[in-house]
């Protein structure tokens, strides 16, 4: 059977496919385009397109006895929605952030205070050059990007 992560990945691949097409595509067309690069069943493509339609990411258009599918939104619009949700952490005191951001955005005043604090940290430790001294010290720990 097709696992959940596999379905998620297929959703992405199928959306990519629909975004590159100019006109609404049938399940068969999407399946044929995909089967060049991967082994995927026709019914799986149908299931994933149905899931995407239920999530509002693609539109179903009736065409005779079959459905045609096209993206309901562009990739840029989805990215914009993501960024909006990620940045819009508070729009009232009652709302709790759904996401955990590394650091919030700073005002101009804060930015000065932040830079002053960094300068203090860097100057307070003269034994460390401003280069990569810190990472050398803790080198060897797993998980660092190559």
């Amino acid at each position: 059977m097709v696992g959940r992560t596999r379905l998620g990945e297929l959703e992405r691949v199928i959306m990519d496919q629909l975004w590159t097409l100019d006109s609404p595509a049938t399940v068969r067309q999407v399946h044929e385009a995909l089967s060049d690069s991967r082994d995927v069943a026709y019914t799986t493509v149908m299931t994933v397109l149905d899931r995407l339609a239920r999530k509002g990411s693609v539109e179903q258009i009736r065409d005779g006895r079959a459905y045609r599918y096209r993206p309901a939104v562009s990739r840029d619009e989805l990215t914009a929605e993501l960024m909006h949700q990620a940045l819009d952490t508070v729009d009232g005191s009652d709302r709790m952030a759904a996401l955990l951001r590394f650091v919030g955005s700073a005002s101009a005043d804060d930015a000065d205070a932040i830079r002053a604090a960094l300068a203090e940290l860097e100057n307070g430790r003269p034994e460390q050059s401003p280069g990569r001294a810190e990472s050398d010290r803790t080198d060897g720990t797993a998980g660092s990007p190559p």
Binding site: L82, L100, E134
Partner: protein, 302 residues
Amino acid sequence: MTHSTPTVLLTLALLLAGPAPALLSRARWPSRVPRAALVLWQSLALSALLSALGAGASAGAMVVAYDHPSVVLVVLHASALLLTLVVLARLLWSAHVLGMTLRTRRRRQRHLVDLVARTDGRAPGVHVLDAGRPLAYCIPGLPSRLVVSSPALDDLADDEMTAVLEHERAHGRARHDLVLEGFGALHNAFPRFVRSRTALDSTSGLVEMLADDAARRRAGDVPLARALVRLADAPAPAGAMAAGAVTPAARIRRLTEYELTRRELTDAPVVTSLAYLTAAALVIVPTVAVAAPWLAAVAAAL
């Protein structure tokens, strides 16, 4: 003992809900030992809640202690019981609503990220968004997803990115989202004019410090501070300022103030032990000293 139970519990609840959070939020030691402080906050909240509910329940049940209670007495005690039930219902409802809201928004986020994010060899396992602003965040859940925008990936040096990712992974590992969800539900449960953001803001700050400490261990102080500078530098659109008691500048200053030790107990043993002891006492003492004798007395009266 039995007659004073509601009064004792109510006094305790008021102390734990008012002066205690105010004191704790102004104290300086929590930023030194954030884990112990977070445990103390949780125990404070739990104890305040149990005391308040216990006060109402015991006041309501006290009516059985009278041989021939007057109508006024019965109404009075019944109101206490009713108020307690209302508080409890509001709390459960608030937790339910917040949980549903957060889960819906996170599901939508995960879906969108899966559709538009790409992978990048520079940060394995991370979802990269081709967006205009440098940004890094974690979508809590099992498994949690790390999201980084491409400007952030381009701007940050390798060790700075390591610090960012370790910070976010620490949030995911320790399920900080659940801690904050608990305090959020508690906050939302009380009417606007009595509640304060003290506990929610303080605990939000403490989980950031805990995640910062994880990042320091992996990448070091300076890369973490530089990453904070770079990612906080992005000019904020109006109304999108981050909430919480701890500012980016405060987080960097904290790196200068406190050297990182392997375990907080070796760093500040007295403070840490006192915090854990107080946390345990807050939950255990009222239960043993007040609630248990009262339950025994009620059982005997019946």
